[in-house]
């Protein structure tokens, strides 16, 4: 399916899911759409409904309260759908690491395909992450 993957790589629609972040990563994600970074030139578009999404940008540690919702939203997405963990939170828990309310195994809630570390990651780092995803899709 090389031809199809190329189409997918050129038209990634992202859905922004915040699973108990400190809210800083969300602001940085929105920076990607501003004139300075303009991610639409790579064909990337922010969509409001997870049914339209190709990539879910997940930010934040997943705490016990949002975990069922995160799982439900992921199940509602039309596959193929990739999950990108934005920030250190989804991978390492960052400053919330020892909190009492974090789910034990994030992999059970949602399979994360790629991490973009940083607290918060710079928009340049996110664009590089997306470019790597596009590179994987292009083979």
């Amino acid at each position: 399916m090389g031809w199809y993957n190329k189409r997918l790589a050129k038209s990634i629609w992202v859905f922004h899911m915040s699973a108990s972040p400190c809210n800083n990563c969300d602001i940085e994600i929105l920076d990607l759409l501003t004139p300075k970074y303009d991610i639409e030139r790579l064909g990337i578009k922010l969509v409001g409904s997870v049914r339209h999404a190709d990539v879910i940008l997940l930010s934040g540690v997943i705490n016990q309260k949002v975990a069922p919702r995160v799982k439900k939203i992921y199940e509602q997405a039309a596959k193929p759908c990739f999950v990108v963990g934005v920030g250190t939170c989804p991978s390492g828990g960052c400053c919330f690491n020892d909190s009492y309310n974090i789910v034990e195994k994030r992999e059970d809630v949602i399979p994360i395909d790629m991490y973009i570390p940083g607290c918060p990651p710079k928009p340049e780092a996110m664009i590089e992450g997306v470019a790597k995803l596009i590179g994987v899709l292009n083979g």
Binding site: M1, Y4, R7, L8, K10, S11, W13, P35, D38, E40, R41, G43, V47, G48, S49, R51, H52, D54, Q76, A78, K79, P80
Partner: protein
């Protein structure tokens, strides 16, 4: 049925031509929108990539709601859009009548709106249902004004309802946009089209920020691809309709081709400019605008047309 009809319907100016031109014009829309906010904008074949990508995605059918309607609505809407563009296109490019007149075009446009309403309401999703409800209200608001402005070219061409006769009347007597009534009707026509396509001052049913695309919210995969294609095909069908009714059609020889492209692009870019420089209005403001301002103006245009201005 003659063999040319199949060609008209499927290749030019029907299915193939309208979809390809629509996807290209969708790029113009996104590019101009991007330039308005000092962005760079997407590459030229972005909409083709979007369309083919959506074709390959999974189609999710929601558990609640009417499944058959949910699946069938975008494809009927696509068929309706192909018919509309074939009818308008043959009259415009071949001065040939496909057996349908302006009343049929109005009916088909209505069926298209009904399909959006049915498709949105069939999912059982709250946001989609609210979007479908708003689509009904918007249809109520703009339909009367739209029908009234369609009467102006009918009256001015000596009570002809065939699209090719309206065009012929303009070729002999000059375009209707040159007269007072034609100009008023043309301006109201652009605003009606803006409402029919749900572009920004009237993007009430699809408000991304509050209703997450409204009726299209639950769609995914190929049905969503066809909804998106339908929306882009309207960028072709509606400006063509306006050019046909008011602006004297196309003259496809020599310098006329340049004029044809300019006419079409100027209408599209005007629509995009209106879209980008206006905030979204509330549904009651839209009703107020269409019923208290646009419809009386359309009436005035009709009266002027009857008296020959």
């Amino acid at each position: 049925m003659k063999p040319e009809f199949v060609f008209y319907l499927l290749v030019f100016p029907g299915l193939l031509f309208t979809s390809v031109l629509g996807l290209l014009i969708g790029w113009v829309d996104r590019k101009v929108t991007a330039r308005f906010t000092y962005r760079v904008g997407p590459p030229l074949f972005q909409n083709f990539n979007d369309f083919f990508k959506l074709l390959g995605k999974e189609t999710i059918i929601v558990k609640e709601g009417v499944h058959s309607l949910f699946i069938v609505a975008p494809f009927i809407a696509f068929g309706v859009m192909v018919l509309i563009s074939a009818i308008i296109g043959t009259a415009l490019f071949y001065q040939y009548d496909l057996g349908a007149d302006i009343i049929v075009v109005m009916y088909l446009l209505m069926i298209y709106s009904v399909m959006i309403i049915l498709g949105g309401a069939s999912t059982g999703n709250v946001y989609s249902s609210v979007g479908a409800g708003r689509e009904i209200k918007l249809l109520l608001a703009d339909e009367l004004a739209f029908i009234l402005i369609c009467l102006v070219p009918i009256i001015k061409s000596g009570y002809q309802i065939k699209l090719d006769s309206i065009l012929m009347a303009q070729v002999t007597n000059g375009a209707f946009i040159g007269s007072f009534s034609g100009l008023i009707a043309f301006i109201i026509g652009i605003l009606c089209i803006q409402a029919k396509m749900a572009l920004t001052p009237f993007s009430i049913p699809e408000a991304e920020t509050e209703l997450v695309e409204g009726p299209l919210m639950e769609y995914s995969g190929p049905p969503l691809a066809f909804w998106k294609l339908n929306q882009l095909m309207m960028y072709v069908a509606f400006p063509f309709l306006l050019i046909l009714l008011f602006w004297g059609g196309f003259e496809l020889i020599g310098i006329g081709i340049l004029w044809a492209v300019l006419k079409y692009l100027s209408i599209v870019v005007l629509m995009i400019i209106i879209k980008n420089t206006n905030p979204r209005i509330r549904i009651d403001t839209a009703l107020h605008f269409f019923w208290k301002i646009a419809t009386p103006l359309a009436f005035i245009a009709i009266i002027l047309a009857v008296f020959g201005y």
